[in-house]
Amino acid sequence: MTRALSIRNLQKVYGNGFQALKGIDLDVEQGDFMALLGPNGAGKSTTIGIVNSLIGKSAGRVEVFGMDIERQPVQAKSCIGLVPQEFNFNIFEPVEEIIINQAGYYGIPRREACERAGIALKRLGLWEKRRGSARELSGGMKRRLMIARALVHQPKLLILDEPTAGVDIEIRRSMWAFLTELNNSGTTLILTTHYLEEAESLCNRVAIINNGEIVEHGKVSELIGKLDVETFILNIREQLDEAPILGDCRVSLVDSHTIEVEISRQRSINALFGQLTAQGIHVLSMRNKVNRLEELFLRLVKDSK
């Protein structure tokens, strides 16, 4: 089956000599939900910009559903929907018109565009707001409008650049549900986000980019399996003056009722609890210090520096 996105030896050197991409290879299969992660300035936006023909590449090849973005730009672009990070629409335009105009850029006749806009607005809960101008929408609604607009030409590949940035948790959850539904219906999705919890919850694959290179790429479950240690925060009933000694685990005292324990993934947590109980320490609650993908991300980024 043709890949949704195939990137080979992609390089980008900007006019000022800065090498943003150092020859990356990346494959996204049809139906994948992939997270593209990386710290600021790692090369995520450049990669997305090149795939969307917003930025010219210095070298390499990019194919979207088997179509080269340079040799078959019209066909390749027709397959992609883009939801950029910043709000980019005329705030004075009616919500419905924003979507219909976008459809026009893809050669969709106005009547059909109106029908598709209606479907997209209903799916994203904006139907009631269709006649009002975009400036009347809340932040979450504006984000949903951008997704509705990107979907109007029914792209096979949807690229979302931090779609939930600055969105409250309730709207974020509803957007997660919508994106999952979209992926289940066959749309391939690529997501960039700084919320690694989001990537771990939604995506089946992840690519981590740093300093213009892909430092890790694969299934989320496989990548998390590479973590050798996890860090937990334990709230305890007893008041402690110093950190307890728990075999080969690294333990530090956060405050008198909280300890931080770094435990090898090969070790059983039951054994940890046994040691704590033996020392008369009772655990009231326990949580991961950071999300597992976040822990892996931080390690990989640190290692690649």
Binding site: K12, V13, N52, S53, L54, I55, G56, K57, S58, P73, V74, Q75, K77, S78, I80, L82, P84, E86, N88, F89, N90, F92, E93, E97, N101, Q102, G104, Y105, Y106, G107
Partner: protein, 252 residues
């Protein structure tokens, strides 16, 4: 198809902003005043003109000066209409929507250009209605009227092309407006330097570049293909420059 979609969107966006309505209202108000003043002047000398053989008619006395004034006023107004075409898209990051859509750079530029030209044609049609109202009580020289309208139309098309190009150069609409006005004014008055330099050599070349010279010929009813070619080449040049400027954004 895509060009028309972009042009239609541009025209709709223009009418969604108060600027387009304000421009239409102010232009019609000013020109209604000028038109009525010209008619009054014509009526004052009409009795004497009747006695002169080959004297100018109402079209020469009223319509040609009206279109001449319209060109000067539009020299100021068109940059205000074109200033946002690309610069605003850049500023609000909406240009990326066009660049990532399956449309070529030429389609984007021509679509936007046709959108603004459509608006200017609406304005031209409304201005054209004023002379036509003279048919109620007089006779018009339709050849002269058509040449004047053609000249004004070509002039507006050239103004819009310059304005569009200037809008591709900056993210600030105000800068685009001021620079468009500067270029248009320079091309309008370049003839003055030509007059000082004399008829031949550089003076002749400068006079050729003056928009006013080519427009004045059409306003007098002189239909010369060289004048038409000047405006067409002028417009095409600035449209090509606009396409190249936007293409430069995507170059590796």
């Amino acid at each position: 198809m895509m060009v028309l979609a972009i042009a239609a969107r541009e025209l709709r966006a223009l009418f969604l902003s108060p600027l387009a309505w304000a421009v239409l209202a102010v232009m019609l108000l000013i020109h209604a005043y000028l038109f009525l003043s010209q008619i009054e002047q014509y009526l004052a000398v009409q009795s004497q003109l009747v006695l002169i053989e080959g004297a100018p008619g109402v079209t020469e006395v009223v319509v040609s000066p009206l279109f001449g004034s319209a060109a000067v006023v539009l020299l100021l107004v068109v940059p205000l209409l074109t200033m946002r075409l690309i610069s605003e898209e850049r500023r609000s990051h909406t240009l990326s929507l066009l660049l990532s859509a399956p449309v070529s750079m030429a389609e984007i530029v021509i679509g936007k250009y046709l959108g603004i030209v459509a608006f200017l044609l609406i304005l031209l049609a409304l201005l054209g209605l004023m002379p036509l109202s003279l048919l109620v009580g007089g006779v018009l020289d339709f050849g002269l009227l058509a040449a004047g309208l053609l000249g004004l139309g070509l002039m507006l098309a050239a103004f819009a092309a310059v304005g569009l190009f200037m809008s591709t150069l900056t993210i600030y609409p105000a800068v685009a407006a001021v620079s468009s006005f500067g270029v248009l004014l320079l091309l309008w008055i370049v003839d003055w330097a030509g007059n000082v330099a004399g008829e031949g050599g550089s003076g002749g070349a400068l006079a050729y570049f003056s928009m006013m010279n080519h427009f004045q010929a059409l306003l007098r009813g002189v239909f010369d293909t060289a004048d038409i070619a000047y405006f067409v080449l002028f417009t095409v040049t600035f449209l090509v420059l606009s396409i190249l400027r936007l293409e430069a954004d995507r170059l590796p």
